[in-house]
């Protein structure tokens, strides 16, 4: 079985400061990891993914995430937050190469960037 934990329901950060949204995962094999963002009354927008290769992946809107196999984590980061980054962020995982192709999502973290 695969699972994702996002330990923080809410993250507040001041504009211009760095932000981190935490995610840890559990899968039986190699993980494929994803971050999605959801703005109010909108669908899930793909931000970035880790499949293989460099542990630091860069995505849309200046976001990046670091895959840490020993800590089974995939934290989302941005060096300088914008008010427009305020949204609900979901981490998702699936087992790479396995038959279970569906994504398992975390419970989401509401990011609020304060002006």
């Amino acid at each position: 079985a695969q699972s994702v934990a996002q330990p923080e329901d809410q993250v507040n950060v001041a504009e211009g400061n760095p932000l981190t949204v935490k995610c840890t995962y559990s899968v039986s094999g190699n993980p494929y990891l994803f971050w999605y963002v959801q703005y109010p009354n909108r669908g899930l927008q793909f931000l970035l993914k880790y499949i293989t290769g460099d542990n630091l992946v860069k995505g849309s809107y200046g976001f990046e995430a670091e895959f840490n196999k020993s800590q089974t984590s995939f934290h989302l980061k941005k060096p300088s937050a914008l008010v427009s980054d305020s949204a609900l962020y979901f981490c998702a995982v699936r087992e790479g190469g396995g038959s279970a192709r569906q994504l398992t999502f975390g419970s989401g973290t509401q990011l609020t960037v304060l002006p």
Binding site: L44, R101, F105, S107
Partner: protein
């Protein structure tokens, strides 16, 4: 940039009624999915569809649910007899065969069962 579209954006129905939620996946994609998100809860997988048949389904996807690709562009989710607990946001997603990893989501249909 191509995107997944869904109709309607909102649907209100009476308990026991049938609803059909519609999705138009990205045109060259071959895998299709439905997920749902009950208000305030996490996004949950319902079903995946490939080559005109269900690939996987979750325990949520019981006999009241069905999916269909009636033509070359639409992908539908039917709930035969809606229950109050079916009220949720329903997301359609699609992905290409290669690279296979990224699922792209539609804007969702908010279903309210009264």
């Amino acid at each position: 940039e191509p995107e997944v579209t869904q109709t309607p954006s909102h649907q209100v129905t009476q308990m026991g009624q049938e609803v059909i939620l519609r999705c138009v996946p990205i045109s060259n994609h071959l895998y299709f999915y439905w997920y749902r998100q009950i208000l305030g809860q996490k996004v949950e997988f319902l079903v995946s569809f490939y080559n005109n048949e269900i690939s996987e389904k979750s325990e949520i996807f019981d006999d009241q649910f069905s999916v269909e690709r009636p033509d070359g562009s639409n992908f539908t989710l039917k709930i035969r007899s809606t229950k109050l607990e079916d009220s949720a946001m329903y997301f359609c997603a699609s992905r290409a065969f290669t690279p296979p990893e990224t699922q792209y989501f539609g804007p969702g249909t908010r279903l309210l069962v009264l």
